[in-house]
């Protein structure tokens, strides 16, 4: 019986350690998904965000010498307020690795929908 208890105790210790590591990991590396409108509504300082939106046409600026890339991001209703510094940029694309078809309004709305996580 005591032997079995040892194994159960060992299992509990491992489970607790794992639970703690996961908890600590989540609190340290959680990144919040927001759209520009959501960020504007409730910005919380000191939190990591992943901002999703469409690059406003014509707003892209690239300084080759200083490696500065800047653009405005919009979700159709709001653009990002102020200055948002990113350490990772991910380009979202469809199955065919394409931007909205021919810049049509329908394709644009479709992509916005996936950004908001609708229409699954």
């Amino acid at each position: 019986m005591t032997r079995q208890r040892k194994f159960i105790a060992g299992g509990v210790v491992i489970a607790l350690a794992l639970a703690y590591m996961i908890y600590a990991g989540v609190t340290q590396s959680a990144v919040y998904f927001v759209t520009p409108a959501e960020l504007r509504a409730a910005p919380v300082p000191g939190k990591a965000y992943r901002l999703g939106g469409m690059v406003v046409p014509g707003s892209l600026k690239w300084e080759a010498r200083s490696l500065d890339l800047s653009f405005s991001l919009s979700d159709g209703t709001a653009t990002v307020p102020g200055y948002f510094k990113a350490n990772l940029i991910m380009a979202k694309h469809s199955e065919e690795y394409k931007a909205p078809h021919d810049k049509s309004e329908a394709g644009y709305r479709e992509l916005l929908k996936t950004l908001r996580g609708e229409g699954r």
Binding site: R3, S29, L67, E95, E96, Y97, K98
Partner: protein, 647 residues
């Protein structure tokens, strides 16, 4: 014409698979052999039909038959011959065909191998295989039909996604899918064992080699995926904890756990319930992975298809899990262990701990991957956890696993005495500590690196100790050195195959650790003739040239690399495909055992006077691929038929 023929064959195959599944089940239940034979014929029919579908689609690709939509979207007149073949499985619809074809192939092999030997389990295993096959054929008919017609027929197709124009495209998906589908066989036998109530060791012995084969292909698929990512995608890494990668990694972890726990059941009659659960979990994870990658529920940098396919996979997954768990509950009494754990210090508990850690790692990966869904459901906010989360938890887990890799194979069964421990582990521990001390003396200050060195050396020495001891025993009975060593590998191929796999993992671990700890990178913009410096290397930008290729246009940057003396010229490029809006990076690199030099061309001035370049010096990455080769060789050795042991 092609489209109709293909669609027709898919429907007939679906009908046959359903019939065969039911027929095998009824035959098994009533003992009517005629029904089982009929099911075998149906399975053969399905195999022939799916093979024909596959051949037909390949033919459509080779002949540019753009009346088939799938061909029109995944190839064009400029696609080279080779990539017209791999284009067959370049997107969702074709990969489902490939998957079904492999499943049908495995079903036929199962019939050939087990028809005679496993009278009781075999018909149910066949029924399960055919049922699963029917599901994939259903997906092929309803959700992702490869043979949809394209009206009007376009003059030219859209072309294959350029990132898929790589030799990896033939090996990576094929290996990965052979692994995924291979895991269906152990699952089918586990179901058969539960249904018949024969939950003893027969199903394990029958599926042992199947599991190793599937594991071999899955490992190969993961490794090639890493290599592909490293040399094609141009972000300088090989693993990013992306949901798609995790989808393939989770079943690998649980399958690895299963490969180990099987040994305890064989030897000690324990862990029956655990083994059955692991097989169910592993198969469930392969379905879940497909759901994850094909449903678009999780944001990923990889391409996703949205549509009804997600809900189909999720429903099937639910059906499979409920059925399996129902069967487990039904056979609960029979699944109880006969053996019992004797001591905490024993091979059993080392293996048990290995299993717990592997499953914990799988759970961590699962949790991190679905975390955005969980948090949205629970708290209404979308939150994701990135690579730091996965690394933080998995690094200690994997280090412990590596450590156990040294302990498990040598520690005594049942109860290890102090003497046994001393005999086996004195040298390994001493040399492991020495290795860490040596690393420290050489200037390594990272705790993680020192720990990795210590554990890998420890494990390597345990393997050496075991091998020398066994060789010596053979020398004593009069064999000469080389035949003794070769004989060991061949006669005990499962054991030594396992050791070789372990060695491979050690080498991979060193590569992963080195690349994380010591790689450096920088990004800069250079004028023509200007030089950048990184880690003792100098990179001079010599200019840009434009090149016209068969199906794309490319801008090539020329960089001279030197470290005192000129090492060579690297030519990273940007490829512009007419069907793509954005250019695709073409990486250039110089691989080395110590470090790789890795260049990615970024933006450039149109007149060629200036270019932005990402420079990386990646340390020890080559050892990941070398370890991968060792690992797969070991798995091959373990797959070889076991000889009858003479000595």
């Amino acid at each position: 014409m092609t489209a109709d023929l293909g669609y027709g064959m898919t429907i007939v195959a679906l009908g046959l698979a359903l019939y065969g599944g039911v027929s095998a089940g009824v035959g098994a239940r009533t003992g009517r052999l005629a029904l089982i034979e009929s099911a075998q014929h149906a399975a053969l029919g399905v195999f022939v039909l799916v093979t024909s579908c596959f051949a037909l689609l390949t033919y459509a690709f080779l002949t540019f038959d753009f009346s088939v939509r799938y061909v029109a979207t995944n190839t064009n007149l400029g696609t080279p011959f080779y990539y017209r073949i791999t284009g067959v499985w370049g997107a969702l619809e074709g990969s489902i065909i490939l998957w079904s074809w492999m499943l049908a192939l495995y079903t036929v092999i199962l019939i050939v191998r087990h028809r005679v030997g496993a009278r009781e389990l075999y018909p149910w295993a066949l029924a399960t295989m055919l049922g699963i096959l029917a599901f994939f054929l259903l997906v092929m008919t309803v959700a992702a039909p490869p043979f949809q017609r394209q009206v009007p027929v376009p003059a030219d197709g859209r072309g294959l996604n350029p990132l898929l124009e790589d030799t990896g495209m033939i090996t990576h998906p094929v290996a990965l899918y052979l692994g995924f589908t291979g895991l269906t066989v152990p699952f089918a036998f586990a179901m058969a064992a539960l249904i018949t109530g024969r939950v003893g060791d027969t199903w394990l012995v029958l599926t042992r080699r199947w599991t190793i084969v599937a594991w071999y292909f899955l490992s190969l698929g993961l490794l090639i995926g890493g290599w592909w990512s490293y040399h094609v995608l141009g972000w300088g890494g090989y693993w990013a904890w992306d949901p798609v990668e995790n989808a393939a990694f989770m079943p690998w972890l649980t399958a690895t756990a299963f490969l180990h726990s099987v040994m305890i059941q064989e030897r000690r009659r324990m862990l029956r319930l655990w083994n059955i659960s692991l097989v169910i979990l592993t198969f469930g994870l392969t379905l879940f992975g497909t759901f994850l990658t094909r449903s678009g529920v999780i944001a990923s940098v990889h391409a996703f298809t949205q549509g009804s396919i997600g809900i189909l996979f999720l429903s099937f997954l639910a059906l499979v899990l409920l059925t399996a768990l129902g069967l487990v509950a039904w056979r609960w009494e029979a699944l109880r262990s006969e053996g019992e754990l004797d001591s905490v210090l024993s091979r059993e508990s080392a293996f048990l701990l290995n299993n717990v850690l592997l499953v914990a790692a799988a759970f961590t990966v699962f949790f991190g991957t679905v975390f955005p869904l969980l948090s949205e459901a629970a708290r209404g906010v979308k939150v994701s956890v990135g690579a730091p989360f996965f690394n933080q938890i998995n690094v200690p887990l994997f280090l412990s696993l590596v450590f156990l890799m040294g302990v498990g194979p040598l520690i005594a069964w049942r109860r290890a005495s102090l003497d046994n421990l001393k005999r086996n582990f004195l040298w390994p521990v001493a040399l492991g500590i020495l290795a860490a001390a040596l690393a420290f003396a050489l200037g390594v200050r990272s705790l993680l690196a020192a720990l990795t060195f210590a554990t890998t050396v420890f494990v390597a020495v345990t393997i050496a100790v075991d091998f020398t001891r066994a060789t010596r025993a053979r020398l004593r009975v009069g064999e000469s050195l080389l035949p003794a060593m070769g004989g060991l590998l061949v006669r005990h191929n499962r054991r030594y195959g396992g050791f070789v796999v372990h060695l491979g993992i050690l080498i991979v671990a060193l590569g992963v650790m080195g690349s994380h700890a010591w790689s450096v990178q920088t990004e800069t913009t250079l004028h023509r003739g200007e030089t950048a410096e990184l880690a003792g290397y100098r990179f001079r930008f010599d200019g840009l040239t434009a090149v016209e290729e068969s199906n794309h246009f490319k801008v090539v940057g020329t960089f001279t690399v030197s470290n005192g003396r000129v090492l060579g010229v690297l030519q990273p490029a940007k490829k512009f495909y007419p069907q793509e809006q954005a250019p695709i990076a073409y990486v250039d690199y110089r691989l080395g055992l110590r470090e790789d030099i890795y260049l990615v061309l970024g933006d450039f001035a149109r007149d060629g006077s200036q270019a932005t370049i990402k420079l990386q010096v990646n340390r020890l990455v080559s050892w990941i691929w070398i370890g991968g080769v060792v690992l797969t060789l070991g798995a091959l050795l373990a797959i070889l038929p076991e000889r009858h042991k003479s000595a």
